[in-house]
Symmetry: C2
Subunit: 340 residues, 2 copies
DNA sequence: TTGAAAGCGCTAACAC
DNA sequence: GTGTTAGCGCTTTCAA
């Protein structure tokens, strides 16, 4: 069903002039007579001529397209990042090619190839949980295509990165629990293969240490979703000395914890305070509303894209790479309100 | 910082053969000797050659790219649609160019132009709330570029559309409340300027009528977010004969209703049953868990993309346009469990 | 003021 | 088996 598109040649033929004249007329080159210019513009409008970006890309070796590889799109945080990316790219005249790795290493590799083939001018990547080999990403810098990591990076690769200050966030969350009067704080952590999970745990430990609270290994359980949050919390509550505060690696896990606490007939925050880590519009709709770390996904996407476009437009190789941490802030709600 | 990419010519020069031989060798053309073939492949691997998709696109007039225009990305439903789109496109070897209109008509127009310039082979559109002129979309069919609407369509434009069966959904939700023993069912509806809100209301009315229940205007209140859900429900509960069932136009509104009911000290579902309309991962985390209409966003995206790719690959113009309604299904949870 | 020609990277028809 | 050539749509010297 393909009808071919209007080209500069069609206009030239119809007007009995050469293609180059049309090209010049279209961009209002001063050499072209007003008459020709008008005629060309008029016909172009009439035929609804749209310059072929593909041909331009080939000619100029510039596609004005950036690529994005993201683990999953259906995720509040990631979709806000994409939104930030899209908005900044749009304002700068760039198109966005999105690839979803679905947390699969294999697919991430294919995605990288696709974007490379499509000659994106820069790329934004958040790696999968699986990825441990990053040769597919090294190709970009080798070809002078700037690459910026967001949220999840690959340590061994040189490049810019825009990350959440996860250590600081873990620290803030835990410190808040301490300040709310909690003495025995548990942490439902994510898989330690993920750096962000490691860092949140690290922040948790830091806050404990600073407050002179001994770290108790039994208080840290691997749990990063709603179901596991429930299970882990049940386990915590059955300890001889159960915790009086829980910091969960994300909101769904925190909500699982809330359920488990309620099932036990305990009160939040009186018996046990809970802090989550923002992953949706959950925190203000739960009962009680959930204190949570706000992650600023949109800002992360916007910032990363700004930097990427700077890198693209700059002639020289960057002298140093940016390592930017997006500040998080703790939004205090009912689940941890001062308990004394 | 641009380093130029490896081309077929580079390989040809280095091997002292012609570019066409390299081209043929790379695609294992039978004419090429094993020796040459091996040499070419080896060098290509070594140099990490990636075919230039831009050049191919120009040559073949095929970009293997589809465009998407979506009102906003940060929205559970829309992001699941995108996820479905991306997965199907990926499997079929298509890339996806995403444009976010941010509910702005002007931006939708620019997005359409961008995608046209980039020579996408097909396009998936969900129009903004503002759009009432659709010339920018007419261009696509005029050029033989298939266009498929998803979720929100432009009536005046011919084309395929994949929509949610909102009438059926409103009907199902209301009928379920009736079957659960509710006699006085309220509806928290969305803005009637939006077709989906109209349709859900229509389904609600249908179910009432079928059951011989008189429609009571006071039971229908405009409310489509968490805050308004609370306010509207308070209002409903203060009526002389308050409802014993509420069907809300989306989950957040339903959750607002839950809060209001709880604040009144009433029990769900004993005193009042509640049904929502899926808009996130909310329904199984509330207390009580929320009965809700599942919208199958992923399936919608997948289906639309399948159809789009069929249209792209087919030679002839479609004889008839598809008007497909994605079935919703009601997931029954605690907030409406049989009350007798 | 305009046209002809070359070239961006690749392929395919046509030589040899 | 392999090379030559032309052309996809566009821009940009260079010539006229």
């Amino acid at each position: 069903m393909k009808k071919s598109q209007v080209t500069i040649k069609d206009i030239a033929k119809e007007l009995g002039i050469s293609a180059s004249t049309v090209s010049r007329a279209l961009k209002n080159h001063p050499d072209i007579s007003q008459k020709t210019r008008d005629a060309v513009h008029e016909l172009a409008d009439k035929l609804n001529y749209q310059p072929n970006a593909v041909a331009l890309s080939l000619k100029n070796s510039r596609t004005h397209t950036i690529g994005v590889i993201i683990p999953e799109i259906v995720h509040y945080f990631f979709s806000s990042v994409i939104s930030g990316i899209e908005d900044v790219a749009y304002d700068a005249g760039f198109s966005v090619m999105i690839c979803q790795s679905n947390e699969k290493y294999e697919r991430e590799v294919t995605n990288a190839q696709t974007l490379l083939s499509n000659r994106v001018e820069g790329i934004l990547v958040s790696v999968t949980k699986e990825s441990d080999n990053f040769d597919h990403l090294k190709q970009f810098s080798r070809r002078g295509i700037p690459l910026i990591f967001f949220d999840r990076d690959a340590k061994e690769i040189e490049g810019d990165r825009i990350l959440i200050d996860d250590i600081g966030a873990g620290y803030k969350a835990t410190k808040h629990l301490i300040q709310s009067g909690c003495k025995r704080i548990a942490h439902l952590c994510g898989p330690q293969s993920l750096e962000i999970a490691q860092k949140r745990l690290q922040g948790y430990k830091q806050a404990l240490e600073e407050a002179g609270i001994t770290f108790i290994p039994e208080y840290v359980i691997d749990a990063d979703n709603f179901e596991l949050g429930k299970v882990a919390t049940r386990q915590l509550l059955s300890l001889d000395t159960p915790p009086d505060g829980i910091f969960a690696v994300n909101d769904l896990t925190a909500i699982g914890a809330i359920k488990a606490v309620h099932n036990k007939g305990l009160h939040i925050p009186k018996d046990i305070a809970i802090v989550g880590f923002s992953s949706g519009r959950f925190s203000d709709i739960t009962e009680p509303t959930l204190t949570s770390v706000d992650q600023h996904g949109y800002e992360m996407g916007a910032k990363a894209t700004q930097l990427l476009i700077e890198r693209i437009e700059s002639e020289e190789d960057p002298e140093t790479f940016v390592n930017h941490f997006i500040e998080t802030n703790l939004i205090i709600r009912e689940s941890s309100i001062h308990r004394d």
